[in-house]
């Protein structure tokens, strides 16, 4: 469990990257959404222990990440957008790096590589962006850390690889694992998410589980303007709307629509429904 208590982060210039974030992230796969500069990467870096909060505390299983003790760092891994290492191949990197992570599964690592069509012996610097990403995803998912933070994991991946990644992430889940995925391309991994965290201008505007959202909201697509919609958009001739939940018509969560709803004037209504309304 990741717990952030009143976490704020301010740069030396005074710019606030995160403001008073209070959240407990339970086990499961969570989507982290927000506009550019909302504080997503800052949040991930604080959880990974790369940044110290200016105020507040961030804990993983009750241990503060800012202390950077081996016992807590061995439970967390952040796969950032850019990642370099001195070894020529990802297998050699794994040989020296994985010794610090007690739950690393070597056979799963090779399985993941194989699924992506890689051997791990390719010279890493010579790989394309997509193949570099695949190598590192194969490794990260095999590390077996209780907390895995993925920053834009599908960047550079082809359609087939995105499908493989979906299966891998789903397959790597355990009862004690938390995966937070920060991505702008929600649709690639949409079916996986157990929860969503939304940031807007350094503040957290929503943190809810998918099941809670489904109990309170229904996401509809129609050809006519919706009557009882709390929020709707029109795209390609169809109306995408959010209405109060209908017990008979539970729908999948449209995270993109929910994100746009939370950016607009109807965000309070949406939030009230999620937090207060009984089905």
């Amino acid at each position: 469990m990741i717990t952030l208590k009143d976490v704020s982060y301010r740069y030396h210039s005074g710019t606030e990257a995160l403001a008073h974030v209070n959240i407990s992230v339970p086990e499961g796969i969570h989507l982290l959404l927000g506009e550019n500069g909302a504080g997503k990467t800052t949040l991930l870096h604080i959880i990974a222990g790369l940044l110290f909060p200016t105020e507040g505390t961030c804990e993983v299983d009750g241990e503060k990440t800012r202390h950077r003790n081996p016992s807590v760092l061995s439970k967390v891994f952040l796969l950032a957008d850019n990642f370099t290492f001195p070894q020529p191949t990802v297998r050699m990197f794994a040989k020296y790096h994985s010794v610090f992570y007690p739950n690393f599964d070597e056979s799963l690592f090779y399985e993941n590589l194989n699924a992506f069509g890689l051997s791990g012996n390719e010279p890493f610097k010579a790989l394309s962006l997509g193949n570099k990403r695949k190598s590192l995803l194969a490794y990260s998912l095999a590390l077996g850390t209780e907390v895995l933070l993925l920053d834009e994991p599908v960047n550079g991946l082809d359609l087939n690889s995105k499908q493989i990644l979906r299966r891998m992430i789903a397959g790597s889940m355990t009862d004690s694992r938390t995966i937070i995925v920060s991505t702008h391309t929600v649709s690639d991994l949409e079916t996986l998410f157990d929860g969503v965290i939304m940031l807007r201008r350094s503040e957290m505007i929503l943190a809810a589980s998918t099941s809670d959202i489904q109990k309170k909201l229904t996401f509809k697509k129609s050809t006519v303007p919706p009557v009882d919609a709390i929020f709707y958009t029109q795209a390609a001739g169809a109306f995408h709307s959010i209405v109060p939940a209908d017990a008979d018509n539970e729908s999948d969560v449209d995270f993109v629509l929910l994100y746009f709803a939370m950016q607009g004037q109807q965000s309070k209504n949406v939030l009230n429904l999620i937090n207060n309304q009984e089905p």
């Binding site: 790369l50 940044l51 110290f52 370099t84 290492f85 001195p86 070894q87 010794v99 610090f100």
Partner: protein, 260 residues
């Protein structure tokens, strides 16, 4: 794969495993550094047999010195500060490894082959290794203050290089090189000031007289001059030790408090 302990107690096994993160560069450095150092000594000895050799001896001697000064660059080549920071290794373990490696291991790899040649090979080789131009260091007292000072002086730019690498999250090769050169210049200026003060204190006339009387044996002259300069060399030694301590402290602080 053998897994490291993830307890929060200090672990020497983790210190060594941390060093492996920098493979293969660190292993290559440990192999090539003593070999290059040995090659430089042998080249210097050969150059000593030729009248044109002296300036080249000076130039070639820069190589082992630079290997010490820039030894810490191995921690910047191809590495990601984020991976280093996220590693489940205590900051004290990281600091111990990088400091001992850059300020003890690499200087040993550079200086030990040279010492072995001077102490073992040259005496054994006799006239084969003697030359008119290459200063016969066999007659200098090893372990003397000035020899220690030359080793300690090497560590000042080496510690600057290390501290700069550990404090930066970008430009981790260019900026350490720049700051190391700055520290070398500063050290040279300080050393020159100490030398000038010593010369004026001793008296230029006396030095000329000493030089004339010892002209047949330059080694004795140098030793005599150095012993007169001792107080200023002590000041230089003190400044070097303090500088090294400060930069080691900065290295530890950078590792402990690094944010990305």
């Amino acid at each position: 794969m053998t897994c490291m302990t993830n307890t929060d107690n200090f672990s020497f096994a983790r210190v060594m495993a941390y060093g492996n993160i920098y493979s293969p560069w660190i292993k290559r450095q440990l192999v090539f550094t003593p070999l290059i150092s040995l090659a430089v000594v042998m080249i210097n000895i050969m150059l000593g047999f030729y009248s044109f050799g002296l300036p080249f001896i000076g130039l070639v001697s820069f190589i082992p010195a630079f290997m010490v000064y820039f030894g810490a660059l191995v921690f910047a080549v191809g590495t990601d500060p984020a991976i280093e920071t996220m590693l489940p290794v205590k900051w004290s373990e990281k600091a111990l490894f990088v400091t001992v490696y850059a300020l003890v291991v690499i200087p040993l790899c550079v200086n030990l082959p040279q010492l072995i040649v001077e102490v073992v090979v040259r005496p054994a080789g006799g006239e084969l290794f003697d030359s008119n131009i290459y200063i016969n260091t066999r007659n200098m007292t090893f372990g003397s203050f000035n020899t220690c000072l030359s080793y300690v002086q090497q560590l000042v730019p080496a510690s600057v290089c290390l501290a700069t690498i550990m404090s930066l999250t970008s430009k981790r090769i260019v900026m350490p090189v720049v700051w190391t050169i700055v520290s070398l210049v500063a050290l040279s200026i300080f050393g020159a000031i100490c030398g000038i003060l010593g010369v004026f204190k001793y008296g230029i006339g006396k030095i000329e007289t000493l030089a004339e009387s010892q002209s047949a044996n330059p080694t004795v002259f140098i030793n005599a001059l150095m012993s007169e300069m001792q107080p200023y060399m002590m000041i230089l030694m003190g400044v070097c030790v303090i500088a090294i301590a400060v930069f080691v402290w900065l290295t530890c602080r950078s590792i402990k408090t690094r944010q990305l």
